[in-house]
């Protein structure tokens, strides 16, 4: 079936080519990092995780969000999602691979990364995170492939795949819960140590993932013969609306607790994010401040557009709202989440962090890798659909 990815038009091959070029640039950048060490990044003793781990955290959410189409379709027989469920599942595959790649490029000793399996350590949340991510990747590969093969053959998916589909639903929740536990279990970092982190991660995941799926459906309609249909897209929009509302609500919970509780160690991180902090020498550090306000602004704008049916029902506005949701959460749950956890440090030091060019190129290349895998997978899906329904997909 994968051979269908090898036949495509000019547009398809141009996209593949562009993504390969970005990927190649990233590989060169990574070789530099590999030979010189992580000193080529902006990371430091105080801020020891940055752009890579930020992207990882955000993308685990994108991977988990597949459940938002799988659950209505398989559990509630919401047949309108039949056409796009495979698209959701196929987002999860590159998202998982990108997560693993971001972890890999963040490692100081990448060749030793299999030590996680050689010396399995169940008391470490990172061990569990690796296990659930790998499991989720395998589940989605299996489910996606089996259901698509059946579709190609014009038969119903075999009965044995159903338990895997059912298991994939709580599994999706687990990958993001465990990712939140990576952070929320650390007494050393007051910013992360909050019980609401896992729920917040899930809410933001269920907003950003379906927002991305809406955008992909709209792009596919514009560039290919595939049309997800208005109704499924509207249903996704409702899901994004609920999830984004809950996410903003949970962020406000955090702000209230920190501000009214008024414990300096908790408040300092929020101050750093939204107003900046001075270091011991009196130098102001406010790199993230404009980003965080932009994230807040985008969140508000997206909610105005989403909560108002007048805008939500129009696909142009819905696209704008989806972009706003995606970008707002990419900032808030990525760099904001990670860098603020390290600033101020446990000894109350404020250290500047911004990603270097090499770090950014590597990150961009990992996104290109994800886009490449997604493009190939979607190409296969569309080819299968074309074969099954030749009339609708006629050129």
């Amino acid at each position: 079936m994968i051979e269908k990815a090898l036949e495509g038009g000019k547009k398809y091959w141009s996209l593949i080519f562009v993504l390969l070029v970005i990927l190649a640039a990233g590989v060169i950048a990574y070789l530099k990092q590999f030979s010189e060490g992580l000193t080529v990044t902006g990371l430091s003793r105080d801020v020891s995780w940055g752009l890579y781990i930020a992207q990882f955290t955000f993308l685990v959410g994108v991977a988990a969000s597949a459940v938002m189409v799988v659950l209505p379709y398989y559990l509630h027989n919401y047949m309108l999602f039949g056409k796009i469920t495979i698209l959701g599942e196929f987002i999860a595959i590159p998202a998982c691979i990108m997560c693993m790649t971001f972890i890999f490029v963040d490692m100081g000793q990448p060749f030793r990364v299999l030590n996680i399996f050689l010396h399995p350590t169940p008391r470490s949340v990172m061990f569990w995170d690796t296990v659930v991510l790998f499991g989720y990747l395998l589940l989605n590969l299996l489910i996606g492939w089996i259901t698509l093969t059946s579709e190609l053959k014009g038969i119903k998916p075999p009965a044995w795949i159903k338990p895997f589909i059912i298991v994939s639903i709580p599994w999706a929740v687990s990958i993001h819960t465990v990712t939140a536990f990576l952070y929320s279990g650390l007494a050393a970092r007051p910013f992360w140590m909050t019980a609401v982190l896992a729920p917040r991660f899930l809410a933001s995941a269920f907003a950003s993932g379906p927002a991305m799926l809406i955008l992909l459906c709209l792009i596919l309609r514009k560039t290919t013969k595939f049309d997800a249909g208005k109704e499924p897209i509207q249903k996704l929009a409702v899901i994004v609306t609920y999830a984004m509302t809950v996410n903003v609500f949970l962020i406000l919970m955090e702000v209230f607790t920190a501000m009214y509780g008024d414990i300096p160690e908790h408040l300092a991180h929020l101050k750093f994010l939204y107003f900046g902090l001075r270091d011991a020498q009196g130098v102001m550090h406010s790199t993230l401040v404009p980003w965080m306000w932009l994230s807040s602004l985008l969140a508000v704008v997206s909610l105005i557009l989403l909560l108002n049916p007048k805008y939500r029902n129009r696909e142009g506005w819905l696209a704008a709202a989806s972009i706003a949701v995606f970008f707002s959460l990419w900032i808030d749950k990525g760099m904001g989440m990670i860098v603020a956890g390290f600033t101020p440090s446990p000894t109350h030091n404020v250290t500047h962090y911004s990603p270097t060019l090499i770090e950014s190129l590597i990150s961009l290349a990992v996104w290109a890798l994800g886009a490449l895998i997604l493009t190939v997978l979607y190409k296969v899906v569309l080819s299968v659909r074309k074969q099954v329904e030749p009339v609708r997909y006629k050129d």
Partner: protein
Amino acid sequence: MDRRKFFKYAGFAAVGLAAGLPAKLLAAEALAEPVTGSDLECACGSEGFVRQMYPPASASRWAMVIDLRICREDPDCRDCIKACHQIHNVPDYQDAKNEVKWIWKEPFSHAFTEADHQYITGHIKHSNALLLCNHCDNPPCVKVCPTKATFKREKDGLVMMDWHRCIGCRYCIAACPYGSRSFNYREPKKFFTEKGQRLQPDFPARTRGVVEKCTFCEERLARGEWPACVLACPHNAIAFGDLGNPTDPVRRILQDTFTIRRKPALGTQPEIYYIV
């Protein structure tokens, strides 16, 4: 072997090793001033801790007491830091971003975030506290390590590291509430070569991409030697011993003197005690 017996044997051993042992320690330039046996045994009164010639041969819980009152008297002194970093091949990059440090000074208000208040007199507030790995009884770094590259040695409570197993994920750095861990962003051996500095041959230099920290001089304790910082302190401001032994001087200090620890509320049970 009981304590008395040990010191009897240690005495004999000392005769035999009189030349050998200190020479080995003094390989580090920082320790160029020989710390002789008689100096070690001298009772310096209120000026510092009294110490036997050799540490106990074994312990069930190593711990350290630092008398910051003495430390404050000589604010520019960095002897312990120099000694530690020299014998452990800790590179001095002169660059906060790539910095590696095992023992260092931090302003009082940064070291004791919970004990700081606005009326603390200037000489305490603006003084520095000596910080290093706390070798916690309940170490959060050990809990989070996905490969057991950092682990607690059950026999004596040391929090140790396997630099050949560490994958460099830096989860332990995120988990340490004391900022005690450093990551090798650069290749330390290359730096030493470029600077023309000689590596200490009897201690491994780390490789790029692994985390490191204070080991409580595990390698020296195994040889029956005090940790380097303890020995290097010209004012005997650092006491070191076995909390598992009720007659150990460190136990007695903790009984008689009020000491504080960093962030005790977190329940990590740090084993560095400070007299402020």
